[in-house]
């Protein structure tokens, strides 16, 4: 266990250093994030004209929703799917099959390093811009639950994306599937609009899908109240449900990973 933790730390650190060489790639978020947020500010300013609340959310809460979901997106951002598909398609996965560490753990360690860098380069500057430029209230209602929920969202996004990446073991060219799935994931996670705006029937379906646990649930936990499909949960219940969903998704990912490895064949590299 201690040895594995040391390996995770080493891989994370190397990834951190590798991506630190391409800082400008992440720094682009300082333009992209606030510009997209500015669009949201104008949209909702117009929508709230003469209205106190829309779908139970005030204007300030709506801005907080989009502000927090942007930050969660930066924290839990993941490209394990793309990476794994590239490795399988190019045959380079064979080098990972020989290593004394499962690839999913290697990918998770890489993500930890990559996102650690993002905390300083992307998350913190964008957070400060939201706070001081847009004056968005980003004070979590309950910091402990909010932090735990964001950590769980980080893992949830990884496991879901990794499952998408695993489709490369069954499909010749899985890029199309990956892109369709990721788009639907963002829609169902509440990235574009709070899920409470969807029709009741769709909300009920979304409640049982794992995507809400990536963005919608942690954002609502951050704001301090959770409700979807008429189901209202306390913060502890919501985070508990999220933890259960992460465990189930992790189990499914491992099962899929072992099934995928049985299909893999590689001839030298």
């Amino acid at each position: 266990m201690k040895r594995q933790l040391a390996m995770i730390r080493a891989i994370g650190f190397v990834t951190y250093k590798e991506w630190a060489a391409f800082r400008s790639h992440m720094l682009a978020s300082l333009l992209v994030g606030p510009v997209l947020f500015l669009v949201q500010v104008f949209i909702w300013q117009a929508m709230f004209e003469g209205k106190e609340t829309i779908n139970g959310l005030t204007f300030a809460q709506m801005l907080t929703y989009f502000g927090v979901s942007t930050l969660i997106h930066y924290i839990s951002f993941d490209f394990a799917d793309w990476n794994l598909q590239m490795l399988v398609r190019s045959g380079k996965f064979v080098t990972f099959a020989l290593r004394p560490m499962p690839h999913w753990l290697f990918a998770l360690a890489q993500k930890l390093g990559h996102r650690s860098l993002a905390l300083g380069v992307e998350v913190l500057p964008v957070l400060l811009l939201f706070l001081f430029l847009f004056q968005v209230n980003l004070m979590p209602a309950s910091p402990g639950w909010a932090l735990l929920s964001i950590v769980l969202s980080f893992f949830m996004n990884f496991f879901i994306n990794y499952c998408v990446g695993l489709t490369a073991f069954w499909l010749v060219r899985a890029e199309g599937v990956r892109r369709v799935f990721l788009l639907l994931k963002d829609v169902c996670a509440g990235v574009f609009l709070p899920l409470s705006f969807f029709p009741e029937v769709v909300q009920k379906l979304l409640f049982f899908l794992p995507f809400q646990f990536i963005t919608y649930l942690p954002t609502r936990v951050y704001i301090g109240e959770y409700e979807l499909a008429g189901i209202r949960l306390s913060l502890a219940e919501a985070v508990g449900l999220q933890a259960l969903a992460v465990l189930i998704t992790a189990g499914l990912t491992l099962a899929l990973y072992h099934a995928a490895l049985k299909r893999f064949t590689g001839v030298g590299v």
Binding site: V35, L36, V177, R179, V180, L193
Partner: protein, 260 residues
């Protein structure tokens, strides 16, 4: 001109044949583009359904702005935006030299190589959305259609100019795929009625970064909300194209490599 068309015809043939090797991937990619382009209209629909609206804009009118945007992308993306991907990958790999050696202008070659038939899927989603939006507004007069047609050419020219700026940027900012995110963020303003923005922002989006000219101005013309005066956008688009061509060629001079 005849040679240029022959080049395009040859590229379209080859690219389609290439896509046919991975038919399911091609079908899924087209499907993705259709779904992807309908996300913002879906959000607009859901928001209107909840009782909110853009002041002074009915649902169909707001969707018309978004439909025009998608239609313009449906033409500009397959023909021009592929050059961003070509520049991104070939400059990073150092294989851009091969384009410089060919007996056609490098800019044209970058556009030709970047041609992507998948992007025509956007035309499908744009057409469906356009038809739906038009079904809920008063049938436009033929003069409005004429204005719209001219302004639509301007919007495609603006998108072409944007592809030149982003592609040119990649000669210096080597290998950064974030240019696509920057494009999406900047054009986010163009998907909505311009009247929702503050006066200052409206001026910026019209005269400085003419994103408002991509969809809002043509859609307003079709709805009969703007007169012939809005045709000044044609001049603005032509100027932006010229600046884009100049910028791309200037940035090309920054390209360095050590041979393939």
């Amino acid at each position: 001109m005849k040679e240029l068309l022959a080049c395009w015809a040859a590229v379209i043939r080859v690219k389609l044949a290439e896509q046919m090797a991975y038919r399911s991937h091609f079908a899924l990619s087209v499907l993705l583009l259709v779904i992807g382009d309908l996300v913002v209209p879906l959000v607009t629909l859901l928001v209107y359904r909840s009782g909110a609206s853009f002041p002074g804009w009915s649902l169909h009118e707001a969707l018309l702005v978004q439909a025009v945007f998608v239609l313009a992308k449906g033409i500009a993306f397959p023909f021009f935006f592929g050059m961003i991907g070509t520049t991104l990958s070939q400059v990073r790999e150092g294989t851009f030299d091969l384009l410089l050696l060919r007996p056609r202008p490098a800019m044209l070659m970058a556009m030709l190589l970047g041609f992507d038939p998948e992007d025509f899927g956007r035309l499908l989603s744009g057409a469906v959305l356009f038809g739906f939006a038009l079904s809920g507004v008063v049938v436009p007069h033929w003069t409005s259609w004429l204005q719209f047609a001219l302004l639509f050419i301007a919007s495609i020219a603006i998108l072409c100019a944007m592809s030149l700026f982003l592609s040119g940027l990649l000669f210096r900012w080597v290998g950064s795929s974030r240019v696509f995110d920057i494009f999406d963020a900047m054009t986010g303003f163009g998907m909505y009625p311009g009247t929702i923005f503050s006066k200052t922002m409206q001026n910026i989006l019209t005269y400085v970064l003419p994103i408002g000219l991509i969809a809002f101005v043509p859609a307003s013309a079709l709805l009969g909300r703007s007169g012939w005066g809005s045709l000044w956008a044609l001049g603005s688009a032509a100027l932006l194209m010229l600046v884009g061509i100049w910028y791309w060629n200037r940035m090309l001079k920054n390209y360095t490599s050590a041979g393939g």
